[in-house]
Protein backbone atom coordinates (compact mmCIF):
# COMPACT_ATOMS: atom_id res chain seq x y z
CA UNK A 1 0.00 0.00 0.00
CA UNK A 2 1.24 3.47 -0.82
CA UNK A 3 0.20 6.59 1.00
CA UNK A 4 -1.80 8.74 -1.37
CA UNK A 5 -0.32 12.02 -2.50
CA UNK A 6 -3.22 13.96 -1.07
CA UNK A 7 -2.59 12.61 2.43
CA UNK A 8 -0.94 15.54 4.17
CA UNK A 9 -0.33 14.77 7.84
CA UNK A 10 0.64 18.34 8.72
CA UNK A 11 -2.65 19.58 7.34
CA UNK A 12 -4.55 16.83 9.18
CA UNK A 13 -2.83 17.74 12.44
CA UNK A 14 -4.28 21.21 12.19
CA UNK A 15 -7.72 19.63 12.65
CA UNK A 16 -6.73 18.52 16.18
CA UNK A 17 -6.38 21.47 18.56
CA UNK A 18 -5.19 19.24 21.43
CA UNK A 19 -2.02 18.36 19.52
CA UNK A 20 -0.80 21.91 20.17
CA UNK A 21 -0.74 21.56 23.92
CA UNK A 22 2.22 20.93 26.14
CA UNK A 23 2.56 18.31 28.86
CA UNK A 24 5.12 18.84 31.61
CA UNK A 25 6.52 21.67 29.50
CA UNK A 26 7.09 19.40 26.49
CA UNK A 27 5.02 19.18 23.29
CA UNK A 28 2.45 16.42 23.65
CA UNK A 29 3.22 13.18 21.84
CA UNK A 30 -0.01 11.22 22.01
CA UNK A 31 0.44 7.49 21.47
CA UNK A 32 -2.51 6.21 23.47
CA UNK A 33 -4.89 6.17 20.53
CA UNK A 34 -6.03 2.62 21.17
CA UNK A 35 -7.53 3.85 24.45
CA UNK A 36 -9.07 7.06 23.11
CA UNK A 37 -8.50 8.92 19.88
CA UNK A 38 -8.32 12.69 19.80
CA UNK A 39 -11.17 14.82 18.51
CA UNK A 40 -10.92 16.93 15.37
CA UNK A 41 -12.34 20.46 15.25
CA UNK A 42 -15.02 19.25 12.83
CA UNK A 43 -16.46 16.94 15.52
CA UNK A 44 -16.02 19.53 18.28
CA UNK A 45 -17.90 22.04 16.07
CA UNK A 46 -20.67 19.51 15.57
CA UNK A 47 -21.06 19.11 19.35
CA UNK A 48 -21.07 22.87 19.89
CA UNK A 49 -23.55 23.37 17.05
CA UNK A 50 -25.94 20.91 18.64
CA UNK A 51 -25.94 22.65 22.03
CA UNK A 52 -25.99 26.13 20.52
CA UNK A 53 -28.69 25.58 17.95
CA UNK A 54 -30.94 22.57 18.32
CA UNK A 55 -30.57 20.89 21.71
CA UNK A 56 -33.88 19.13 22.37
CA UNK A 57 -35.26 15.73 23.23
CA UNK A 58 -35.93 13.53 20.26
CA UNK A 59 -38.71 11.40 18.79
CA UNK A 60 -41.60 12.82 20.82
CA UNK A 61 -41.62 16.57 20.47
CA UNK A 62 -43.62 18.23 17.74
CA UNK A 63 -41.67 21.47 17.95
CA UNK A 64 -39.01 22.49 15.47
CA UNK A 65 -35.96 21.88 17.68
CA UNK A 66 -37.07 18.38 18.57
CA UNK A 67 -37.66 17.59 14.92
CA UNK A 68 -34.24 18.91 13.92
CA UNK A 69 -32.54 16.93 16.68
CA UNK A 70 -34.47 13.77 15.76
CA UNK A 71 -33.52 14.14 12.13
CA UNK A 72 -29.83 14.69 12.93
CA UNK A 73 -29.77 11.72 15.31
CA UNK A 74 -31.48 9.39 12.86
CA UNK A 75 -29.23 10.64 10.07
CA UNK A 76 -26.25 9.67 12.17
CA UNK A 77 -27.69 6.18 12.48
CA UNK A 78 -27.94 6.00 8.68
CA UNK A 79 -24.32 7.17 8.33
CA UNK A 80 -23.25 4.41 10.70
CA UNK A 81 -25.39 1.87 8.84
CA UNK A 82 -23.81 2.84 5.52
CA UNK A 83 -20.31 2.82 6.96
CA UNK A 84 -20.68 -0.75 8.17
CA UNK A 85 -22.88 -1.71 5.24
CA UNK A 86 -25.75 -2.96 7.40
CA UNK A 87 -28.86 -3.85 5.45
CA UNK A 88 -31.14 -1.53 7.42
CA UNK A 89 -30.60 1.38 9.81
CA UNK A 90 -32.80 -0.34 12.41
CA UNK A 91 -30.04 -2.93 12.76
CA UNK A 92 -27.87 -0.21 14.28
CA UNK A 93 -28.47 0.23 18.02
CA UNK A 94 -26.83 3.28 19.52
CA UNK A 95 -25.33 2.34 22.86
CA UNK A 96 -22.95 3.88 25.38
CA UNK A 97 -20.08 2.00 23.73
CA UNK A 98 -18.68 -1.44 23.13
CA UNK A 99 -18.96 -2.58 26.75
CA UNK A 100 -22.61 -1.60 26.81
CA UNK A 101 -23.20 -3.32 23.45
CA UNK A 102 -21.69 -6.59 24.63
CA UNK A 103 -23.64 -6.51 27.88
CA UNK A 104 -26.83 -5.88 25.92
CA UNK A 105 -26.30 -9.02 23.86
CA UNK A 106 -25.10 -11.07 26.84
CA UNK A 107 -28.18 -10.08 28.81
CA UNK A 108 -30.62 -11.10 26.08
CA UNK A 109 -28.73 -14.18 25.01
CA UNK A 110 -29.77 -15.88 28.25
CA UNK A 111 -32.98 -16.71 26.43
CA UNK A 112 -31.11 -18.93 23.95
CA UNK A 113 -28.93 -20.81 26.42
CA UNK A 114 -29.38 -23.81 28.61
CA UNK A 115 -27.06 -25.62 31.02
CA UNK A 116 -24.32 -27.47 29.15
CA UNK A 117 -24.25 -25.11 26.18
CA UNK A 118 -20.91 -23.51 25.39
CA UNK A 119 -19.72 -20.00 24.72
CA UNK A 120 -16.34 -19.85 23.03
CA UNK A 121 -14.33 -16.74 23.84
CA UNK A 122 -10.92 -15.94 22.41
CA UNK A 123 -7.89 -15.74 24.69
CA UNK A 124 -7.03 -12.33 23.26
CA UNK A 125 -10.01 -10.51 24.71
CA UNK A 126 -10.43 -7.30 26.63
CA UNK A 127 -12.13 -7.82 30.00
CA UNK A 128 -15.31 -6.31 28.53
CA UNK A 129 -15.60 -9.30 26.23
CA UNK A 130 -14.90 -11.83 28.98
CA UNK A 131 -16.76 -10.76 32.10
CA UNK A 132 -20.29 -10.35 30.62
CA UNK A 133 -20.04 -13.93 29.29
CA UNK A 134 -18.79 -15.26 32.63
CA UNK A 135 -21.79 -13.61 34.26
CA UNK A 136 -24.09 -15.13 31.65
CA UNK A 137 -22.58 -18.60 32.21
CA UNK A 138 -23.11 -18.28 35.95
CA UNK A 139 -26.75 -17.51 35.35
CA UNK A 140 -27.44 -20.22 32.80
CA UNK A 141 -25.06 -23.05 33.62
CA UNK A 142 -23.50 -22.70 30.19
CA UNK A 143 -19.74 -23.17 29.98
CA UNK A 144 -17.17 -20.61 28.95
CA UNK A 145 -14.47 -22.12 26.75
CA UNK A 146 -11.32 -20.19 25.94
CA UNK A 147 -9.66 -20.41 22.55
CA UNK A 148 -5.93 -20.20 23.35
CA UNK A 149 -3.45 -17.85 21.77
CA UNK A 150 0.01 -18.70 20.50
CA UNK A 151 3.37 -17.38 21.63
CA UNK A 152 3.34 -14.79 18.83
CA UNK A 153 -0.01 -13.36 19.82
CA UNK A 154 -2.24 -15.04 17.24
CA UNK A 155 -5.26 -17.21 17.91
CA UNK A 156 -4.58 -20.92 17.73
CA UNK A 157 -6.87 -21.69 14.81
CA UNK A 158 -6.23 -25.44 14.67
CA UNK A 159 -7.47 -25.52 18.26
CA UNK A 160 -10.54 -23.59 17.14
CA UNK A 161 -11.55 -26.45 14.85
CA UNK A 162 -11.23 -28.86 17.78
CA UNK A 163 -13.14 -26.75 20.28
CA UNK A 164 -16.03 -25.77 18.06
CA UNK A 165 -18.90 -28.24 18.38
CA UNK A 166 -22.66 -28.58 18.31
CA UNK A 167 -22.91 -27.33 21.91
CA UNK A 168 -21.22 -24.03 20.93
CA UNK A 169 -23.97 -21.43 20.85
CA UNK A 170 -21.87 -18.31 20.58
CA UNK A 171 -18.34 -17.42 19.55
CA UNK A 172 -17.07 -14.07 20.72
CA UNK A 173 -13.83 -12.53 19.52
CA UNK A 174 -12.33 -9.15 18.91
CA UNK A 175 -11.61 -8.10 15.35
CA UNK A 176 -8.35 -6.58 16.59
CA UNK A 177 -6.69 -7.23 19.97
CA UNK A 178 -6.42 -4.10 22.11
CA UNK A 179 -3.31 -5.28 23.94
CA UNK A 180 -1.30 -6.56 20.98
CA UNK A 181 -2.97 -5.22 17.85
CA UNK A 182 -3.38 -8.70 16.29
CA UNK A 183 -5.92 -8.74 13.44
CA UNK A 184 -7.94 -11.89 14.00
CA UNK A 185 -9.20 -14.10 11.14
CA UNK A 186 -12.83 -13.24 11.80
CA UNK A 187 -14.06 -14.26 8.36
CA UNK A 188 -12.84 -17.81 8.93
CA UNK A 189 -14.17 -17.80 12.52
CA UNK A 190 -17.62 -16.67 11.38
CA UNK A 191 -17.85 -19.23 8.57
CA UNK A 192 -16.81 -22.13 10.76
CA UNK A 193 -19.00 -21.06 13.69
CA UNK A 194 -22.02 -20.84 11.40
CA UNK A 195 -21.36 -24.37 10.17
CA UNK A 196 -22.10 -25.66 13.68
CA UNK A 197 -25.01 -23.26 14.14
CA UNK A 198 -23.24 -20.89 16.55
CA UNK A 199 -23.74 -17.13 16.45
CA UNK A 200 -20.74 -14.81 16.36
CA UNK A 201 -20.17 -11.52 18.13
CA UNK A 202 -17.20 -9.49 16.96
CA UNK A 203 -15.90 -6.72 19.21
CA UNK A 204 -14.82 -4.14 16.66
CA UNK A 205 -13.65 -1.47 19.13
CA UNK A 206 -10.01 -1.68 18.08
CA UNK A 207 -10.61 -2.47 14.42
CA UNK A 208 -12.93 0.42 13.62
CA UNK A 209 -10.20 3.12 13.69
CA UNK A 210 -8.20 1.22 11.06
CA UNK A 211 -10.45 -1.16 9.14
CA UNK A 212 -13.80 -0.58 7.47
CA UNK A 213 -15.81 -3.68 8.34
CA UNK A 214 -18.62 -4.80 6.01
CA UNK A 215 -21.07 -6.66 8.23
CA UNK A 216 -22.98 -8.19 5.34
CA UNK A 217 -19.88 -9.47 3.56
CA UNK A 218 -18.61 -10.87 6.87
CA UNK A 219 -22.05 -12.33 7.60
CA UNK A 220 -21.35 -11.47 11.26
CA UNK A 221 -24.26 -11.74 13.70
CA UNK A 222 -23.22 -8.92 16.06
CA UNK A 223 -20.57 -6.25 15.64
CA UNK A 224 -19.73 -3.52 18.14
CA UNK A 225 -17.69 -0.33 18.28
CA UNK A 226 -17.10 2.79 20.36
CA UNK A 227 -17.08 6.31 18.90
CA UNK A 228 -14.23 7.53 21.09
CA UNK A 229 -11.78 5.28 19.24
CA UNK A 230 -12.63 6.89 15.89
CA UNK A 231 -12.39 10.60 16.64
CA UNK A 232 -15.86 10.79 18.19
CA UNK A 233 -16.90 11.59 21.75
CA UNK A 234 -16.90 9.18 24.71
CA UNK A 235 -20.07 7.54 25.96
CA UNK A 236 -21.48 6.56 22.58
CA UNK A 237 -21.04 3.52 20.42
CA UNK A 238 -23.03 1.01 18.48
CA UNK A 239 -24.25 -2.51 18.32
CA UNK A 240 -24.96 -3.97 14.91
CA UNK A 241 -27.13 -7.05 14.97
CA UNK A 242 -28.86 -8.99 12.24
CA UNK A 243 -32.48 -7.92 12.27
CA UNK A 244 -33.95 -11.33 13.07
CA UNK A 245 -31.56 -11.74 16.01
CA UNK A 246 -32.25 -8.30 17.42
CA UNK A 247 -35.95 -8.96 17.09
CA UNK A 248 -35.58 -12.23 18.98
CA UNK A 249 -33.49 -10.73 21.79
CA UNK A 250 -35.50 -9.41 24.74
CA UNK A 251 -35.10 -5.73 25.67
CA UNK A 252 -32.16 -4.84 27.89
CA UNK A 253 -33.51 -1.93 29.91
CA UNK A 254 -37.05 -0.74 30.43
CA UNK A 255 -38.19 2.85 30.29
CA UNK A 256 -39.34 5.55 27.94
CA UNK A 257 -38.64 5.39 24.19
CA UNK A 258 -38.53 1.56 24.18
CA UNK A 259 -42.28 1.02 24.52
CA UNK A 260 -45.23 0.76 22.22
CA UNK A 261 -48.12 0.77 24.73
CA UNK A 262 -47.89 0.87 28.51
CA UNK A 263 -50.57 0.01 31.02
CA UNK A 264 -50.17 -1.40 34.50
CA UNK A 265 -51.42 -4.73 33.19
CA UNK A 266 -49.16 -5.09 30.18
CA UNK A 267 -46.56 -3.26 28.16
CA UNK A 268 -45.76 -3.91 24.56
CA UNK A 269 -42.35 -2.98 23.29
CA UNK A 270 -41.38 -0.69 20.46
CA UNK A 271 -39.80 -2.11 17.33
CA UNK A 272 -36.13 -1.84 16.40
CA UNK A 273 -34.01 0.08 17.13
CA UNK A 274 -36.03 1.81 19.90
CA UNK A 275 -36.60 -1.45 21.78
CA UNK A 276 -32.96 -1.27 22.88
CA UNK A 277 -32.72 2.47 23.41
CA UNK A 278 -34.64 3.09 26.64
CA UNK A 279 -34.61 6.60 28.03
CA UNK A 280 -33.30 9.79 26.50
CA UNK A 281 -30.28 8.69 24.50
CA UNK A 282 -26.93 10.44 24.13
CA UNK A 283 -28.35 12.58 21.36
CA UNK A 284 -25.39 14.90 20.91
CA UNK A 285 -23.02 11.94 21.13
CA UNK A 286 -24.92 10.07 18.43
CA UNK A 287 -24.86 13.04 16.08
CA UNK A 288 -21.14 13.61 16.74
CA UNK A 289 -20.50 9.89 16.18
CA UNK A 290 -21.98 10.30 12.70
CA UNK A 291 -19.79 13.34 12.08
CA UNK A 292 -16.71 11.42 13.22
CA UNK A 293 -17.48 8.64 10.74
CA UNK A 294 -17.78 11.24 7.99
CA UNK A 295 -14.44 12.71 9.05
CA UNK A 296 -12.68 9.35 8.95
CA UNK A 297 -14.14 8.61 5.53
CA UNK A 298 -13.13 12.03 4.23
CA UNK A 299 -9.52 11.10 5.07
CA UNK A 300 -10.13 7.64 3.67
CA UNK A 301 -9.47 4.28 5.25
CA UNK A 302 -7.00 3.25 2.56
CA UNK A 303 -4.94 6.33 3.32
CA UNK A 304 -5.25 5.75 7.05
CA UNK A 305 -4.14 2.13 6.78
CA UNK A 306 -1.21 2.82 4.47
CA UNK A 307 0.08 5.73 6.54
CA UNK A 308 -0.36 4.02 9.91
CA UNK A 309 1.42 0.95 8.59
CA UNK A 310 4.41 3.14 7.69
CA UNK A 311 4.40 4.50 11.24
CA UNK A 312 4.20 0.98 12.66
CA UNK A 313 7.15 -0.25 10.59
CA UNK A 314 9.20 2.80 11.52
CA UNK A 315 8.41 2.50 15.24
CA UNK A 316 9.20 -1.22 15.22
CA UNK A 317 12.52 -0.61 13.50
CA UNK A 318 13.49 2.15 15.94
CA UNK A 319 12.44 0.12 18.99
CA UNK A 320 14.51 -2.80 17.79
CA UNK A 321 17.59 -0.57 18.17
CA UNK A 322 17.36 -1.22 21.93
CA UNK A 323 19.35 -4.30 22.96
CA UNK A 324 16.94 -5.09 25.77
CA UNK A 325 13.65 -4.64 23.89
CA UNK A 326 10.97 -7.34 23.97
CA UNK A 327 8.09 -6.81 21.52
CA UNK A 328 4.95 -8.84 22.16
CA UNK A 329 2.61 -10.03 19.48
CA UNK A 330 2.63 -10.75 15.84
CA UNK A 331 4.60 -9.17 12.98
CA UNK A 332 3.55 -5.75 11.63
CA UNK A 333 1.85 -7.39 8.62
CA UNK A 334 -0.73 -9.02 10.86
CA UNK A 335 -1.60 -6.19 13.17
CA UNK A 336 -2.82 -2.63 13.37
CA UNK A 337 -0.58 0.26 14.38
CA UNK A 338 0.10 -0.96 17.92
CA UNK A 339 3.40 -1.94 19.52
CA UNK A 340 3.27 -3.61 22.89
CA UNK A 341 6.70 -3.91 24.46
CA UNK A 342 8.90 -4.09 27.53
CA UNK A 343 12.54 -3.59 28.29
CA UNK A 344 14.31 -6.50 29.88
CA UNK A 345 14.86 -5.76 33.55
CA UNK A 346 12.53 -2.74 33.64
CA UNK A 347 9.01 -2.48 34.98
CA UNK A 348 6.56 -0.97 32.47
CA UNK A 349 5.22 1.46 35.11
CA UNK A 350 8.65 2.91 35.73
CA UNK A 351 9.19 3.48 32.02
CA UNK A 352 5.68 4.89 31.52
CA UNK A 353 6.04 7.27 34.47
CA UNK A 354 9.32 8.69 33.21
CA UNK A 355 8.33 9.10 29.56
CA UNK A 356 5.14 10.86 30.67
CA UNK A 357 7.36 13.47 32.36
CA UNK A 358 8.93 13.95 28.93
CA UNK A 359 5.56 14.58 27.28
CA UNK A 360 5.01 11.11 25.82
CA UNK A 361 1.60 9.54 26.40
CA UNK A 362 1.79 5.76 26.17
CA UNK A 363 -0.28 3.22 28.01
CA UNK A 364 1.32 1.02 30.63
CA UNK A 365 -0.28 -1.87 32.44
CA UNK A 366 -2.35 -4.89 31.61
CA UNK A 367 -4.59 -3.00 29.13
CA UNK A 368 -7.70 -4.64 30.65
CA UNK A 369 -6.47 -7.93 29.24
CA UNK A 370 -4.98 -9.69 32.25
CA UNK A 371 -5.20 -13.18 30.70
CA UNK A 372 -2.79 -12.06 27.94
CA UNK A 373 -0.32 -10.71 30.53
CA UNK A 374 -0.61 -13.97 32.49
CA UNK A 375 0.14 -15.84 29.27
CA UNK A 376 3.41 -13.94 28.86
CA UNK A 377 4.00 -14.00 32.67
CA UNK A 378 4.49 -10.25 32.85
CA UNK A 379 2.84 -7.55 34.99
CA UNK A 380 2.02 -5.50 31.93
CA UNK A 381 3.48 -3.87 28.85
CA UNK A 382 4.15 -0.45 27.46
CA UNK A 383 1.79 0.08 24.55
CA UNK A 384 2.30 2.72 21.90
CA UNK A 385 -0.69 2.94 19.56
CA UNK A 386 -0.55 5.21 16.56
CA UNK A 387 -3.12 7.18 14.67
CA UNK A 388 -3.11 8.81 11.26
CA UNK A 389 -2.32 12.19 12.85
CA UNK A 390 0.94 10.95 14.41
CA UNK A 391 4.33 11.43 12.74
CA UNK A 392 7.71 9.76 12.49
CA UNK A 393 9.20 12.81 14.22
CA UNK A 394 6.99 12.01 17.22
CA UNK A 395 8.22 8.42 17.18
CA UNK A 396 11.77 9.81 17.33
CA UNK A 397 10.80 11.82 20.41
CA UNK A 398 9.41 8.68 22.02
CA UNK A 399 12.63 6.81 21.28
CA UNK A 400 14.69 9.62 22.84
CA UNK A 401 12.50 9.54 25.93
CA UNK A 402 12.80 5.76 26.15
CA UNK A 403 16.58 6.05 25.88
CA UNK A 404 16.59 8.53 28.74
CA UNK A 405 14.29 6.30 30.83
CA UNK A 406 16.56 3.31 30.17
CA UNK A 407 19.65 5.22 31.26
CA UNK A 408 17.92 6.37 34.45
CA UNK A 409 16.47 3.00 35.39
CA UNK A 410 19.19 0.55 34.47
Amino acid sequence: MKVAERFDVEKIRQDFPILNRKVNGKPLVYFDNAATSQTPQQVIDCIVDYYQNYNANIHRGVHALSQEATEAYENARIKIQKHFNAKESKEIILTAGTTHSINLVANGFEKFLKAGDEILVSGLEHHSNIVPWQMLCEKTGAQLKVLPMTENGNLNMSQFDVMLNSKTKLVTVNHVSNALGTINPIQEIIEKAHEVGAKVLVDGAQATPHIKADVQALDVDFYTCSAHKICGPTGIGMLYGKRELLEALPPYQGGGEMIDQVSFEKTTYAGLPNKFEAGTPNICGGIAFGRAIDYMNEIGFENIQAYEHELLLYATKRLEEFDNIIIYGTSPEHKTAVVSFNFEGLHPYDVGTLVDKMGIAVRTGHHCAQPIMDFFKIPGTIRASFSFYNTKAEIDLMIEALQKANSMLL
Binding site: N24, L346, H347, Y349, D350, T353, L354, D356, K357, M358, G365, P379, M408, L409
Partner: protein, 143 residues
Protein backbone atom coordinates in the same frame (compact mmCIF):
# COMPACT_ATOMS: atom_id res chain seq x y z
CA UNK B 1 17.44 8.49 65.82
CA UNK B 2 15.58 11.65 64.80
CA UNK B 3 11.89 11.89 65.34
CA UNK B 4 9.39 11.51 62.55
CA UNK B 5 8.73 15.21 62.16
CA UNK B 6 12.41 15.97 61.80
CA UNK B 7 12.96 13.32 59.14
CA UNK B 8 9.96 14.58 57.22
CA UNK B 9 11.40 18.10 57.22
CA UNK B 10 14.72 16.78 55.95
CA UNK B 11 12.97 15.07 53.05
CA UNK B 12 11.01 18.19 52.18
CA UNK B 13 14.28 20.17 52.13
CA UNK B 14 16.01 17.56 49.96
CA UNK B 15 13.20 17.59 47.41
CA UNK B 16 13.28 21.39 47.29
CA UNK B 17 16.88 21.23 46.06
CA UNK B 18 15.86 19.84 42.70
CA UNK B 19 14.75 21.99 39.78
CA UNK B 20 12.35 19.60 38.14
CA UNK B 21 10.56 16.31 38.51
CA UNK B 22 12.95 14.38 36.30
CA UNK B 23 15.66 15.11 38.87
CA UNK B 24 13.32 14.16 41.71
CA UNK B 25 12.56 10.89 39.97
CA UNK B 26 16.26 10.28 39.52
CA UNK B 27 16.65 10.81 43.27
CA UNK B 28 13.75 8.45 44.04
CA UNK B 29 15.33 5.79 41.84
CA UNK B 30 18.55 6.17 43.85
CA UNK B 31 16.59 5.89 47.09
CA UNK B 32 14.86 2.81 45.73
CA UNK B 33 18.22 1.13 45.31
CA UNK B 34 18.98 1.68 49.02
CA UNK B 35 15.68 0.29 50.27
CA UNK B 36 16.16 -2.13 53.20
CA UNK B 37 15.06 -5.28 51.44
CA UNK B 38 12.53 -7.69 52.80
CA UNK B 39 13.65 -11.23 53.54
CA UNK B 40 12.71 -13.50 50.64
CA UNK B 41 10.55 -15.70 52.88
CA UNK B 42 8.15 -12.77 53.29
CA UNK B 43 7.82 -12.05 49.57
CA UNK B 44 4.51 -13.85 49.45
CA UNK B 45 0.91 -12.80 48.87
CA UNK B 46 0.44 -12.47 52.65
CA UNK B 47 2.77 -9.50 52.69
CA UNK B 48 1.58 -7.81 49.50
CA UNK B 49 -0.01 -4.40 49.82
CA UNK B 50 -3.31 -4.31 47.99
CA UNK B 51 -4.15 -1.29 45.86
CA UNK B 52 -0.71 -0.94 44.29
CA UNK B 53 -0.40 -1.45 40.53
CA UNK B 54 3.12 -2.73 40.91
CA UNK B 55 3.79 -5.41 43.50
CA UNK B 56 4.81 -4.18 46.93
CA UNK B 57 5.72 -6.39 49.88
CA UNK B 58 6.24 -5.03 53.39
CA UNK B 59 7.31 -6.77 56.56
CA UNK B 60 7.61 -5.34 60.07
CA UNK B 61 9.63 -6.45 63.09
CA UNK B 62 9.85 -5.11 66.61
CA UNK B 63 13.33 -4.27 67.92
CA UNK B 64 13.93 -2.38 71.19
CA UNK B 65 10.32 -1.24 71.27
CA UNK B 66 10.64 0.18 67.77
CA UNK B 67 9.09 -1.01 64.52
CA UNK B 68 11.58 -1.90 61.81
CA UNK B 69 10.23 -2.13 58.27
CA UNK B 70 11.68 -3.96 55.30
CA UNK B 71 10.09 -4.00 51.85
CA UNK B 72 10.49 -4.67 48.16
CA UNK B 73 8.74 -3.97 44.88
CA UNK B 74 9.08 -5.11 41.28
CA UNK B 75 9.12 -1.47 40.12
CA UNK B 76 12.03 0.77 41.02
CA UNK B 77 10.12 4.08 41.36
CA UNK B 78 7.74 2.32 43.72
CA UNK B 79 10.77 1.14 45.67
CA UNK B 80 11.88 4.76 45.90
CA UNK B 81 8.50 5.84 47.23
CA UNK B 82 8.47 3.13 49.85
CA UNK B 83 12.08 3.91 50.75
CA UNK B 84 10.97 7.46 51.59
CA UNK B 85 8.16 6.13 53.77
CA UNK B 86 10.43 3.65 55.51
CA UNK B 87 12.97 6.36 56.20
CA UNK B 88 10.22 8.26 57.98
CA UNK B 89 8.52 5.43 59.82
CA UNK B 90 11.14 2.72 60.42
CA UNK B 91 12.90 2.60 63.79
CA UNK B 92 10.11 4.55 65.46
CA UNK B 93 7.86 3.70 68.38
CA UNK B 94 4.49 2.29 67.33
CA UNK B 95 2.59 5.10 69.02
CA UNK B 96 4.57 7.75 67.12
CA UNK B 97 3.96 6.00 63.82
CA UNK B 98 0.22 5.81 64.46
CA UNK B 99 0.00 9.46 65.44
CA UNK B 100 2.27 10.86 62.73
CA UNK B 101 0.69 13.05 60.08
CA UNK B 102 1.82 12.68 56.50
CA UNK B 103 1.54 16.26 55.28
CA UNK B 104 5.12 16.10 54.02
CA UNK B 105 3.88 14.10 51.04
CA UNK B 106 1.71 17.03 49.96
CA UNK B 107 4.56 19.42 50.67
CA UNK B 108 6.94 17.66 48.31
CA UNK B 109 4.13 17.41 45.74
CA UNK B 110 4.61 13.70 45.33
CA UNK B 111 0.96 12.83 44.97
CA UNK B 112 0.28 15.14 42.03
CA UNK B 113 3.23 13.69 40.22
CA UNK B 114 2.02 10.14 40.51
CA UNK B 115 -0.63 8.57 38.33
CA UNK B 116 -3.93 8.20 40.21
CA UNK B 117 -3.35 4.46 40.58
CA UNK B 118 0.10 5.06 42.04
CA UNK B 119 -1.26 7.76 44.34
CA UNK B 120 -3.82 5.24 45.62
CA UNK B 121 -0.96 2.80 46.10
CA UNK B 122 0.87 5.40 48.18
CA UNK B 123 -2.17 5.80 50.44
CA UNK B 124 -2.38 2.00 50.80
CA UNK B 125 1.30 1.83 51.73
CA UNK B 126 0.95 4.43 54.49
CA UNK B 127 -2.14 2.70 55.79
CA UNK B 128 -0.32 -0.64 55.88
CA UNK B 129 2.69 0.78 57.76
CA UNK B 130 0.33 2.31 60.31
CA UNK B 131 -1.59 -0.97 60.59
CA UNK B 132 1.63 -2.78 61.49
CA UNK B 133 2.38 -0.14 64.11
CA UNK B 134 -1.12 -0.46 65.51
CA UNK B 135 -0.78 -4.23 65.75
CA UNK B 136 2.47 -3.88 67.71
CA UNK B 137 1.02 -1.16 69.91
CA UNK B 138 -1.88 -3.43 70.87
CA UNK B 139 0.48 -6.33 71.53
CA UNK B 140 2.62 -4.38 73.99
CA UNK B 141 2.10 -5.10 77.68
CA UNK B 142 -0.13 -2.52 79.30
CA UNK B 143 1.48 -0.63 82.20
Amino acid sequence: MSDIKQIQEEIVDEFALFDDWMQRYEYMIELGKSLPLIDDQYKTDDYIIKGCQSKVWVHADMKDNKVVFTADSDAIITKGIIAILIRVFSNQKPKNIIEANTNFIDEIGLKEHLSPTRANGLVSMIKQLKMYALAYENKQPQN
